[in-house]
Amino acid sequence: MSHQAVSEKRIGLEVSLAVAEAVKLADVDAIAAYPITPQTHIVETLSEIVANGELNAAYIPVESEHSALSACLGTIAAGARTFTATSSQGLALMHEMLFIASGLRMPVIMAVANRSLSAPLSIWGDHSDVMANRDVGWVQLFVENGQEALDITLSAFRIGEDKRVLLPVMVNLDGFTLSHVVESLIIPDESKVRRFLPPFEPLFRLDPLNPIMIGAIGIPEIYTEARKALDETLTASRIVVDETFAAFKNIFGREYHCIETYRSNDAETILITMGALSGTARLAIDELRSQGESVGLVRIRLWRPFPFDDIRAALGKAKVVVVFDRAISPGGPGGPVASEIRNALYSLEPRPKIVNFVGGLGGRDVRAKEFIEMIRTAKSKADAIDPLLYTMVGVRE
């Protein structure tokens, strides 16, 4: 790593600006975006970079998020490398177009600065926005820190544009608690980026010399096959994610996996998190380990396609699995991550007890001592807790 620190710049940078830097390094051709907190710093920076001539790209300042993604489908259908960013209500307004992007196999890359959904209106962070869009057929990744936000955004282009994938990719970063913090980052060297990320070459594009039809009607004889093909492609994109992370390690030296494990190999109790609160969760693990408790952390980076095998391998030997969700499925089984974990582990015999906590909603802080409390509660009451119930962290009853 040390030689890289010499050849590559390490600077202090706001994480939103780091995402914009990744987009610039990717030499994106087109950006269409609409302002929404807390994503705005990303697109403000990008429009500035374009205005300064640092990035030769079309910046389309559209009149809504629905139009943002609609315009992105137009740019990518013409063969332009395409980026957009949004949050919360903006992602909700895009909902319809999210399905169309994946169904048409358009590798738009989108950063989502995760934020709660109204009502009540809240601009602060949680994972409600992305979880309401879990089934849209996109590759979905969650990052924890600024370096990862930059590196994974860069990787997203290579994953999505791979001819075996050709699917849109969503990079989720927690609103404010990650998007607005300044971190010390390594800005990748441009020549290395060129090696890592070849120019976008679409399989097909709108071209009068070779007319094609994009977006035909799927009659009942076709639709089922199209949806099955999408599921198979998204599931198989896992291979490309792994390959991309391997290539990233070779070229830049930093290592990423679909899940990250922390002191969990021999742990009897494992906490599961996604996103920026994982750093706080690690403090809790360290504290409990120092007290001699057998605990560890698994952080899910790749949310779609869901890494079932990795999860089974990482959790299979644990006695208690504590799942922390930053979103809730009202009237359902609690948090969406816990649902997935139950799915992944149900076929194992014996399988760990699963205890679900929901918290950090609408920007509510979750501190290390609260993670410690969650783990302790789960350990002591795992047998008594109804697996279909969840506990809301820090809620005033």
Binding site: D29, A30, A32, N56, A57, A58, I60, P61, V62, E63, S64, H66, S67, A68, S70, A71, C72, L73, G74, T75, I76, A77, A78, G79, A80, T82, E96, M97, I100, L104, P199, R205, L206, D207, P208, L209, N210, P211, I212, M213, I214, G215, A216, I217, G218, I219, I222
Partner: protein, 318 residues
Amino acid sequence: MSNLGIFSARLLPQEELFVQGHRACQGCGPAIVLRQVAKALGPNTIVVNATGCMEIIVSPYPYNSWRLPWIHTAFENTAATASGVEAAIAILKKKGRFYTDRERIKVLAIAGDGGTADIGLQALSGALERGHDFIYMCYDNEAYMNTGVQRSSATPFGASTTTSPAGSASSGQFSQKKPLAEIAVAHHIPYVATASPSYPFDLIEKFKKAREIVGPSFMHVFAPCPTGWRCGSETSVKLGRLAVETGIFPLYEVVDGKWRMTVDTGDLLPISKYDEVRDIRGYLKMQGRFRHLTDDLIDQIQKQTIMTYKAILARCRE
């Protein structure tokens, strides 16, 4: 704006870019529009189509009635998707990545009246305001025909549709037709025109002009729908002519804010040129959607038609 020439049927290109075999109804006005527009714009065109009749009739997979590149993404966003296509072509050309050896490609956005006047109005306004170099065409068959003849904001007053049905307590559509072309003109774009497939040379000349324009053009095209209007499939072209002659759908263009009537219906007009129009009864009587109208309502529609027509005429004489 140059006069692009005088047309005769013989001089139109033989090549069909919108081809037969599509699934439109008999006598479909919009399908005639597509054929004429394709001839006017030629092969260096990319079509962006909103969800609607003209989308479903051309694209039941694996069939395709277009010999032009064509994309459909959704209903309300055609102007936005067209913005993207146009912007991408420009930037890829500038960066030397693609399209560099192509002649000027024009992007044509197509949507019906619902996709334009109702659900797509926001995206349209945004694209016009941003000034993308593209043509937006609304083929106006005056209701949501694809979903089964529901009223839109472009449905004329008094027309019976499945969601503005005539009944003992209703005389059909309760509101006046939204003035789409005027809304486009208010965006101060370089070219706005109305057109009708019943006047093919006028339509073709206007689309050729729109193709030459750098910036947005808005084309409001009258498109009779025998299925939705409950008229004979052989009457589409006739109804298009009557709509012009009665002043219901005057043909004009607005070039850089300057209004001009383009079709002189001459002797057909009972008094002097342009000042009066034909009685609308003949037009209304041919269509089942107006069958319930009483004489009082017809008089009301006649007065409204003359008023609207004269307002446009006045702007053309400014």
